[in-house]
């Protein structure tokens, strides 16, 4: 502990302290724990959580068999009609949880990738991870026939293999942002043509199954999938959140971060590994849902007016985006149940475009 006695304020530094200019937020001290809380951060987190809760409730209520909120609550508590219990607890609840967890995973993973590549385009969608997972899954569907578990494993193997290949090709004295993205785009393009070729060779039913999987969907996701993602998150999220301050320093350049005592290479390796695993888990459960990993970190960062990556904000924003997208996918377009991936692109994409447009107009970007 460095117990620096606070210096008596000389007249010179009195005004600065009095105006509170040095504090980017309100210091919070709870015993040995202390941190800075920016009022804006607290408000934005609160609003995001409330919004997620609202969408979550709507997901439990709406459907062909509509259940009003009090009966949903009763069903959650384990009392209520049998039909209510079945729909709320066995059908809608796991699906809603899957949306929250997959969205949060993608948000965090996207934030990590973007931070490491120092580029908002450096999300798993762009750098080949998603394309690799899709190719792995399509191969499993077409060659092995593919149960859900096999397809998931195929996706994870394909994703990790592609990510590994991209890193190997992009690596030179650490990961360089632009090279990572360019190599990723190249590999993604090649994988797309591999998938297209496979699908043209497949029969219609299989081709359709593969196509639906590639858009990303939460249809018929049950508790086993929820538990799988939840376990991955429980294992990977805490270490990633703990790396947050280091990631923010590394955004100033490797040298600056190293000078401030960040073990840059080790942090890069651990963060890449954890974020890849998180993406893999999300894709295995829901398919390659596009745009969440790309948009959520940027949206969170702009809403928070933060000067660095905010992993927790990206997680909340990812969860909100995916739950909202799932709500729209299930209920907005008449009877046709869209795959959620078709909606995420529209919601995330238009929100991002709108935000950027607003910033350009006000000259902030």
């Amino acid at each position: 502990m460095t117990a620096t006695t606070p210096r008596t304020a000389s007249p010179a530094d009195a005004p600065a302290t009095a105006r509170g200019t040095v504090r980017p937020g309100r210091p919070v001290r709870l015993g040995r724990v202390s941190f800075l809380l920016r009022p804006r951060t607290a408000v934005v987190f609160g609003v995001l959580v409330a919004a997620i809760a609202a969408v979550f409730a709507a997901l439990l209520m709406l459907g062909e068999y509509e259940i009003p909120l009090p009966r949903v609550v009763a069903a959650l508590a384990g009392t209520g009609e049998r039909l209510d219990l079945f729909f709320v607890r066995d059908v809608r609840l796991p699906r809603a949880w899957a949306a929250v967890l997959v969205g949060a995973s993608l948000g965090v993973a996207g934030a990590v990738f973007q931070s490491l590549s120092r580029n908002p385009l450096g999300s798993p969608d762009i750098i080949g991870f998603t394309g690799g997972a899709a190719t792995g899954a399509v191969l499993t569907i077409l060659v092995l026939g593919g149960s859900m578990l096999q397809v998931s494993l195929g996706a994870v193997v394909g994703g990790v293999a592609t990510a590994g290949l991209v890193y190997l090709l992009a690596m030179r004295n650490g990961v360089q942002g632009y090279r990572l993205i360019l190599v990723g785009i190249g590999i993604s393009a090649m994988l797309t043509s591999v998938r297209d070729y496979l699908i043209t060779r497949a029969d219609l039913t299989e081709a359709k199954a593969a196509q639906v999987w590639m858009i990303g969907s939460l249809n018929a996701r049950g508790w086993s999938e929820v538990i799988a993602v939840a376990v991955c998150m429980a294992l990977l999220l805490p270490p990633l959140l703990a790396l947050g301050p280091r990631l923010r320093l590394m955004e100033m350049g490797d040298q600056s971060a190293q000078a401030l005592g960040v073990p840059v290479q080790r942090t890069q390796a651990v963060a890449l590994l954890a974020a890849s695993a998180l993406t893999g888990a999300a894709i295995a459960v829901a398919g390659p849902i596009s745009f969440i990993a790309l948009a959520a970190p940027q949206l969170a960062r702009r809403l928070l007016r933060s000067n660095g990556t905010t992993l927790f904000g990206a997680a909340l924003m990812g969860a909100l985006l995916l739950t909202a997208a799932d709500l729209v996918a299930q209920h907005a377009v008449g009877d046709a149940r869209l795959p959620v991936g078709a909606v995420t692109a529209v919601i995330g994409g238009s929100y991002l475009v709108w935000l950027l447009y607003r910033e350009w107009r006000t000259g902030r970007a």
Binding site: P6, R32, L249, Q258, L260, G261, V262
Partner: protein, 307 residues
């Protein structure tokens, strides 16, 4: 063999991949000195600084900090003992001056103790020392180059390291801001008794501010010591290949380097010692050629217009 001080290196072989910059280099930074490293471009000054701040792992040899191998410390521990201002740093988008300076506190923060009372007073102090306190709420990307450099210095000061390594802290600054930064360094050296190591390009500034000068050429230390003891016209000519005169600085009495007037002699050298007349002819020829070139271009333009 360099004598042990807080920061010293022995038998250093420094290289990027296969290209060796320095071989078997011994270096010692005298405690409480304001050491300045000078030398021609690509002589390994920055590389040496990077090795001393464990940014670059030597291929052989070792750097010692406070009596231990620098590589044996945890990263944060080094950052509490030794601060480095790299040549290029990227200020994150939309960061305020106070936020950026606050990042210098990272080595003193822990996962659960991210903001202590001392953080706040140190940040205020650092901003005042560098004269950026009144900019605290401004965005870093709105600042001028000179202000920005002082903000980065404030960030390094917030690290509270008694050893400071500065890689070309005056680059891109105009002469007034260069002097501001150097005066600030001199104050830190005198008043806080910090040990400073800076890479500088301007020899006169180096001679004026350094208490210990290290002159490098092609990866090796050619001379080191107090500027007035070591800086001679011969040394500068040997290191930079530039004939100079050394006169006392009218302001401080430290050595001041004035380049010998070579006008009219360069053409002669290039032609391998031909006579002055020849050189003048060459200049005249060159002028003719350029005029002809202009005329041709004009002609082409005219043709294009008429076409």
């Amino acid at each position: 063999m360099p004598e042990p001080s807080r920061l010293w290196g022995e038998n250093l072989t420094l290289a990027y991949d296969q290209s060796v910059i320095s071989r078997d280099l011994g270096i010692s930074i005298p405690d409480n000195s304001f050491t300045v490293i000078v030398g021609p471009n690509a002589c390994g000054k920055s590389t040496l600084l990077r090795a001393l701040s464990r940014m670059l792992k030597p291929q052989s040899g070792a750097v010692h900090l406070d009596g231990r191998l620098i590589s044996s410390y945890p990263s944060k521990e080094v950052a509490r003992r030794l601060g480095l201002l790299p040549q290029s740093s990227v200020a994150p988008d939309g960061i305020t001056v106070a936020d950026l300076v606050a990042r210098g506190r990272y080595p003193h923060q822990k996962l659960l103790r991210q903001w202590s009372r001392s953080d706040e007073s140190v940040i205020t102090e650092s901003m005042e020392a560098t004269g950026v306190a009144e900019l605290a709420d401004r965005m870093v990307d709105e600042l001028s180059g000179g202000q920005r450099q002082r903000v980065w210095l404030a960030m390094v000061l917030a690290q509270q390291t008694p050893l400071l390594l500065l890689d070309e802290p005056t680059t891109y600054l105009d002469i007034a801001h260069q002097m501001d930064v150097l005066d600030l360094c001199a104050d830190l050296h005198h008043e806080r008794e910090y040990t400073l190591v800076a890479v500088l390009h301007d020899l006169n500034q180096a001679c004026r501010y350094a208490t210990h000068l290290i002159v490098m050429k092609e990866g090796a230390v050619v001379a080191e010591g107090e500027p007035s003891d070591i800086v001679t016209a011969d040394l500068v000519e040997k290191v930079f290949g530039l004939p100079v005169r050394v006169v006392p600085d009218p302001e401080t009495g430290t050595p001041m380097i004035v380049a010998v007037d070579r006008r009219g002699t360069i053409g002669r050298r290039a032609r391998g010692g031909a006579e002055t007349d020849g050189a003048q002819e060459a200049v005249a020829d060159a002028a003719d050629v350029s005029q002809e070139g202009d005329a041709d271009q004009d002609g082409e333009l005219l043709e294009k217009r008429s076409a």
